[in-house]
């Protein structure tokens, strides 16, 4: 049932993404409105799908890779909708919706049956820790999307000779930088508290706060990257291009912590198997 709803949501996401991209090309206000409605619709269905799974499984559905991918996309879209209400950002959807779409597509293509919760995950820390981390990562995803837009727009402004089509279609630099900063101020505290709750949970589950497990190590690296960016912004005025590039590097690190540690690292360094595995059924 829940997967069925998610599949419908994916179809609507597909339509929304198409409309967002069409808006960038055609620049018609009507297309933009339809894209917004489709995104809200897909998000609503997605929310319903997650709730139904929650009820059917009896635990917070963020344990398997299917669930994690779906929940991450849900965070990205939810935060995007919040930002879109707060700022008026033409074309932002065209950069965000492909990210969300690729994660929900991955989610529906993965095994999705509900399994009994493994004992290691049976804790009230599960929803707290994982949600904090994912909402934070969602904010970082949006910062990265705004960063890409910033770099394109900045390039247009610097390479004056070829003022391309995108110049008129992208928001101004100031607002993109603001979005970047705002996402950072949302994501960083969440990541920080997420890591702390994770340590507390680890103490309860495995008897040690910190075991230098690859996932822990990478999340610490990610934390340092964002800490450096925040520090640079506040003290020496890192902004604009520099902040945009850091937001991209940071998000790459987020993705590696999220997926690379489990799927890439063990292939390269078989000894570095993480304790944080996805329950893939």
């Amino acid at each position: 049932m829940n997967v069925g709803i998610l599949k419908i949501a994916v179809a609507v996401y597909l339509v929304a993404t198409g409309l967002h991209l069409a808006y960038v090309v055609a620049l018609k206000q009507a297309v933009r409105r339809w894209a917004a409605w489709a995104t809200w619709g897909a998000f609503g269905l997605h929310t319903l799908g997650i709730l139904v799974r929650f009820v059917e499984a009896g635990y917070t559905p963020i344990t398997s890779l299917h669930e994690a991918m779906s929940f991450f996309a849900w965070c990205v879209v939810g935060l995007y909708l919040v930002l879109q209400v707060r700022f008026d950002l033409p074309s932002f959807g065209a950069f965000v919706s492909p990210i969300a779409l690729s994660f929900v597509l991955a989610a529906v293509s993965l095994p999705s049956q509900i399994e009994p919760l493994p004992p290691a995950l049976d804790s009230y820390w599960l929803p707290i820790h994982v949600m904090l981390i994912f909402v934070g990562d969602g904010a970082f995803a949006l910062a990265a999307a705004a960063g890409v837009m910033y770099l394109i727009q900045e390039r247009q402004l610097k390479n004056k000779k070829r003022m391309g089509k995108l110049f008129h279609r992208l928001p101004n630099l100031e607002v993109l930088d603001q979005v970047n900063y705002m996402c950072l101020t949302i994501g960083f505290p969440l990541l920080t508290v997420g890591i702390i709750t994770g340590a507390v949970w680890a103490q309860q589950a495995w008897g040690t706060y910190w075991s230098w497990d690859p996932k822990e190590t990478w999340s610490l690296i990610t934390w340092f990257l964002y800490a450096a960016l925040l520090h640079g912004r506040l003290t020496v005025g890192w902004r604009g291009r520099r902040a945009a590039i850091w937001a991209l590097i940071g998000f790459a690190s987020v993705l590696f912590t999220f997926l690379g540690v489990n799927f890439v690292l063990p292939k390269v360094f078989p000894s570095l198997e993480s304790l944080h595995i996805y329950y893939t059924g």
């Binding site: 620049l27 008129h168 101004n172 100031e174 020496v236 902004r239």
Partner: protein, 429 residues
């Protein structure tokens, strides 16, 4: 009824002629009376701007109307006919409609897409309708022109991008800063170009203008115009970090703004973006500054490049606009055509109805009280049916003729056949 346009514009006449035939605002009502005084002309509007002088008229006859307007223009401005005529253009019927729609949509302007012309045409129309110089035809016609202009503006991006250097500067500033609200502007040099660019920036929200110039007195004079302050030429590099936008146009043969100064300024201003506009030739600002992060430097050629790009974009949008205009012309013309037969059909109907009423009255009187209510109603219905059936064919004939160039003849024949009064003796309804 024929719609006519007689006029001249920057495309057809040099400025010396345009000056001579321009209508001053305070004698416009008088001129409108003059237009209405042309025998064939029934309604008129005069558009007079620095780039064009045009008379829009609804006239009973094409030739008489055109000739009359020619004579009026030449007499009113005391310009000999032969000096004026080669510069005038004339449009009638569909061409006139198309022309006015294009003018209002700014497709005929020197800068295609510039928004002022619509306001000017609206003004001209208001003046004319205040003076009761417009009637059914021009009212409908110009309102249609305004709605076409609006459609063009909303459905194309014809006016979206800036096509002059100082507007391009504003457009770029917006892409960098978002809003210009409260942005500080430094003007280096007190020349006209600087003044123009700074004025546009301020009109869009920029504040706190400072002017610096080698001659301090000139800097002070310009600063006063903006309600800003003057800065000594030697000390401005120390203050450059206070400004978000720097416009430079001095006559100096060498660089005036140094890359090192800007680098230091960026540090001092915490890397907040800076936008520099160099409109001097030779250049005032070190071009290497553009390589600094968060610094955007545009020189005259860059701005010109932006303007050219935007013009190309506009030309593309103009094609879409022409298609909109073409379809709207069709719509308006078909209204105009039906307008020409409507009064005749109505007159015909009134005429027949009057006869029917009179005859019915007589018949009913002859019967006295001999008729029941039901019989009375039957008689009335029968007379009505006869009139309708008889009028059906002539009405359809006239409506079909609406597309015929010889319409006037048909209308005339119908009017004479049924003894209707002259169609031009009173305003159409």
């Amino acid at each position: 009824m024929e719609i006519l346009v007689v006029g001249l514009s920057h495309k057809s006449a040099p400025v010396e002629i345009r000056e001579k035939v321009a209508f001053a605002a305070d004698c416009l009502q008088d001129a409108l009376r003059g237009v209405r005084g042309v025998p064939a002309v029934r309604e008129g509007v005069i558009v007079s701007t620095c780039n064009r002088v045009e008379i829009y008229a609804a006239a009973r006859s094409r030739e008489e109307g055109i000739e009359g307007l020619f004579r009026f223009l030449s007499a009113y401005h005391a310009v000999p006919d032969e000096a004026l005529r080669p510069h005038l253009y004339v449009y009638a019927g569909p061409d006139a409609v198309r022309h006015v729609f294009r003018v209002a949509s700014s497709l005929d302007s020197m800068v295609v897409g510039e928004p002022q012309i619509l306001g000017q045409v609206k003004d001209a129309y208001e003046k004319a309708s205040e003076g009761a110089a417009t009637g059914l035809v021009l009212n409908r016609f110009l309102h249609k022109a305004f709605s076409v202009a609006k459609r063009v503006r909303t459905e194309t991006r014809i006016a979206q991008s800036a096509v002059s250097i100082s507007f391009a500067a504003v457009e770029l500033a917006r892409k960098i800063f978002g809003s210009l609200e409260g942005k500080q502007v430094l003007v280096i040099g007190a020349g006209e170009m600087c003044e123009l660019a700074a004025t546009h920036l301020m009109e869009n929200g920029a504040r706190g203008v400072a002017v610096t110039n080698r001659t301090l007195a000139r800097a002070e004079a310009l600063a006063e115009k903006f309600g800003g302050r003057a800065l000594g030429f030697e000390e401005f590099p120390k203050h450059i970090h206070e400004f978000d936008i720097v416009i430079s146009s001095t006559g100096a043969p060498h660089l005036v703004v140094d890359a090192e100064d800007v680098r230091a300024a960026m540090k001092a201003r915490f890397q907040k973006p800076m936008f520099l506009i160099d409109i001097a030739v030779p250049r005032d600002i070190d071009p290497r500054i553009n390589d600094l992060p968060n610094v955007y430097l545009y020189d005259v050629d860059d701005l010109q490049g932006v303007v050219e790009e935007n013009k190309k974009e506009r030309a593309k949008e103009a094609e879409k606009a022409e298609a909109i205009v073409a379809s709207e012309v069709e719509g308006f013309l078909s209204w105009l055509k039906t307008l020409q037969v409507t009064p005749t059909i109505r007159a015909l109907r009134e005429r027949f109805d009057a006869i029917r009423q009179a005859e019915l009255e007589k018949t009913l009187k002859a019967f006295g009280d001999g008729l029941s209510e039901k019989q009375r109603r039957s008689l009335e219905a029968m007379s009505q049916a006869i009139v309708n059936k008889i009028l059906h064919e002539p009405s359809m004939y006239l409506k079909r003729q609406a597309d015929d160039p010889e319409l006037e003849l048909s209308v005339d024949a119908v009017r004479r056949l049924f003894g209707l009064e002259d169609p031009h003796s009173e305003d159409p309804p």
